[in-house]
């Protein structure tokens, strides 16, 4: 098995409720894999299990051949498993430049350095410029994050994850709430993510899913209903019944 990220038989119980039911998921290198499912299907729980916010009741998570099931969230990030958030989680008082500089410094092992000024390292500054340009943030790089337009903050949300040089990137509804005018810019940056990064996209927006994904997994009631190519999923009568039939694209997941 050459999957970058494997979830093997994940089970999550909250008291008597089983939120995740024996979920197995394999993410191929360079994958563009979408995870869809109706509200309450357990998508958020699954992300929390993968990123280490929750500890599974049973099952294993393997990243590039290494068992990471017991690692703390920040340790998983250091090994290349990085996520974005459905609701922006940014550093409001810092500028995009400072935000990225801190993440890049951390990623390069300079995060504990107390002597050098932030940005003294030429490589860090160069990588920040690259990311700022790639995510169309160079114009606003010196404004505090909390004054930025929503679309820009959404871009920073992804840029910040990419600054951690992920091997596997979990994108949690990247276009949620973005107004139409700023949408295309964001869709394009998602499409332009580096090919070597494996992406798991959690999304309600079917436009984006079908434009972006090469494989899809459908989650229903905490269990995997089916997995396949977008064409297969689109034709699947089961999926139509439980998910596409509801036509709630754009709603938030639970």
């Amino acid at each position: 098995m050459n999957a970058v990220l494997q979830a093997q038989g994940l089970v999550m119980r909250f008291g008597g409720i089983t939120a995740t039911h024996n979920v197995t998921l394999n993410l191929a290198p360079g994958a563009r894999h979408a995870l869809i499912g109706p509200n309450g299907a357990g998508k958020t729980t699954l992300i929390n299990l993968l990123t280490g916010v929750l500890q599974p009741s049973a099952g294993r998570i393997v990243l590039e051949g290494r068992d990471i099931t017991r690692l703390a969230p920040h340790q998983r990030v250091q090994r290349g498993l990085v996520r974005t958030f459905q609701i922006n989680q940014l550093f409001d008082s810092l500028t995009p430049l400072q935000t990225l500089a801190l993440a890049v410094s951390r990623q390069r092992g300079l995060g504990a350095r107390a002597w050098q000024a932030l940005g003294r390292d030429r490589g860090v500054a160069a990588r920040c410029e690259q990311l700022l340009a790639q995510f169309h943030l160079d114009e606003v790089m010196n404004q505090p994050t909390h004054v930025l337009a929503y679309g820009k903050r959404r871009l920073l949300e992804i840029a910040l994850a990419l600054a951690c040089e992920p091997r596997v990137l979990l994108l949690d509804e990247p276009v949620a709430g973005v107004p139409a005018g700023e949408r295309e810019e964001l869709l394009q940056t998602v499409a332009d993510l580096p090919a070597e990064v494996s992406v798991l996209l959690i999304e309600h927006d079917m436009d984006l899913v079908f434009r972006f994904a090469q494989r899809m997994t459908v989650l229903v009631n905490g269990a995997v209903l089916t997995e396949g190519t977008p064409e297969q999923i689109a034709q699947d009568p089961q999926v139509k019944a439980v998910y596409l039939g509801q036509g709630d694209a754009g709603a938030s997941h639970g």
């Binding site: 990123t51 703390a72 969230p73 920040h74 340790q75 990030v77 250091q78 990085v82 996520r83 958030f85 989680q89 940014l90 550093f91 409001d92 008082s93 810092l94 430049l97 400072q98 935000t99 500089a101 801190l102 993440a103 410094s105 951390r106 990623q107 300079l110 995060g111 504990a112 350095r113 107390a114 002597w115 050098q116 000024a117 932030l118 940005g119 003294r120 030429r122 500054a125 160069a126 920040c128 410029e129 700022l132 160079d138 790089m141 010196n142 004054v147 910040l160 994850a161 600054a163 951690c164």
Partner: protein, 322 residues
């Protein structure tokens, strides 16, 4: 882009003219106002203490109502060092730093989890425990009478502490300046940036690989050490350590100073301490009994009007903050 990313990042770390001016004035003060040398050293010590609270409150978002615990620990350590062992000031200060930092490292375990309210209670409780310990261990600390008769040796073996307090003032100013320069470096470093990340959004800090608990523990330890140095300076320059070093109002006054000066830029602590101490000195000279009333009124106005409009009334009452 008008400036490269690197130039922009480094610009923030540059020494500002205001900072230089502030320190020049501070160092000129004991000469210009020889009768107020004691006040100068008191302000320098209080400023250092306030800056240490800013490290945890302003840079990491940890609230504390018991920061005097470390101030008192440093003070008693320095005083006991002189009394029981060697009266060398720098040795006492180093010991005060070490002991209070160690205490800070242990106490940091209590602030890693929980909400702001639990932190207020836990830090307050810690200061009360130490206060009571200093009270009960009267064989060592002198109990409620305080630790009296602390005689300090000359600084660096040359400069004796004089009665009008000039040596003390320069001693306090030099230590404060040195620590400020070090802390300034710290907060502008990648490490300092990860602290601000923890303050702004702990969840995301974790999600970009910052070891949040380790960072909080680290800065809490550093802040405790700096507070301990401030306490040590006070005990050494006054030759006295008493229970009120641990008292609640000392921790609370410190919070007020940061409210006055603003958090998260180090000099907020300095500005707050200077304003607080000068006002205290000035108002209590006019009305010794009722100075707290005027102090309270000032704080209420400060919070109601906002720092900007109170200090710079000429910049538009019409313009509202977004």
């Amino acid at each position: 882009m008008p400036l490269t990313a690197q130039a922009t990042l480094l610009r923030a770390t540059r020494l500002r003219p205001g900072e230089v001016l502030l320190w020049l004035l501070a160092f000129a003060a004991p000469l210009a106002l020889p009768t107020h040398a004691l006040l100068v050293s008191e302000i320098a010590i209080t400023a250092l203490f306030a800056v240490s609270l800013d490290l945890i409150l302003g840079y990491t978002g940890i609230v504390s109502l018991g920061h005097a615990a470390f101030f008192g620990t440093g003070a008693y350590t320095a005083a006991l060092c002189a009394k029981l062992w060697l009266p060398d000031p720098l040795l006492g200060l180093a010991l005060a730093l070490a002991v209070s930092a160690l205490l800070g490292a242990v106490c940091s375990l209590t602030v890693l989890r929980g909400s702001d309210l639990t932190r207020l209670m836990v830090t307050l409780g810690m200061a009360l425990i130490l206060l009571e310990l200093a009270n009960k261990l009267d064989g060592l600390t002198g109990g409620a009478d305080g630790l009296q008769g602390v005689i300090m040796g000359p600084l660096l073996g040359r400069f004796a502490f004089d009665l009008n307090g000039r040596t003390a003032a320069y001693y306090a100013l030099c230590v404060a300046l040195l620590l400020m320069l070090l802390l300034r470096r710290l907060v502008h470093s990648p490490l300092g940036a990860t602290l601000k990340a923890v303050r702004d959004n702990r969840l995301r800090a974790m999600a970009i690989g910052v070891p949040v608990s380790a960072r909080i523990a680290l800065i809490y330890t550093v802040a405790a050490g700096v507070a301990g140095v401030a306490g040590g300076l006070l005990a050494q320059t006054t030759g006295f350590a008493s229970l009120d070093l641990f008292a609640f109002d000392r921790s609370a006054d410190l919070m007020l100073m940061l409210v006055i000066g603003g958090t998260g830029w180090l000099y907020g602590g300095v500005a707050g301490a200077v304003a607080f101490k000068l006002m205290q000195d000035w108002i209590s000279a006019i009305t010794p009994q009722y100075w707290t009333f005027w102090m309270g009124l000032f704080l209420v106005l400060l919070v109601l009007l906002g720092r900007e409009r109170l200090l710079k009334p000429w910049i538009g009452w019409s313009r509202r903050k977004p």
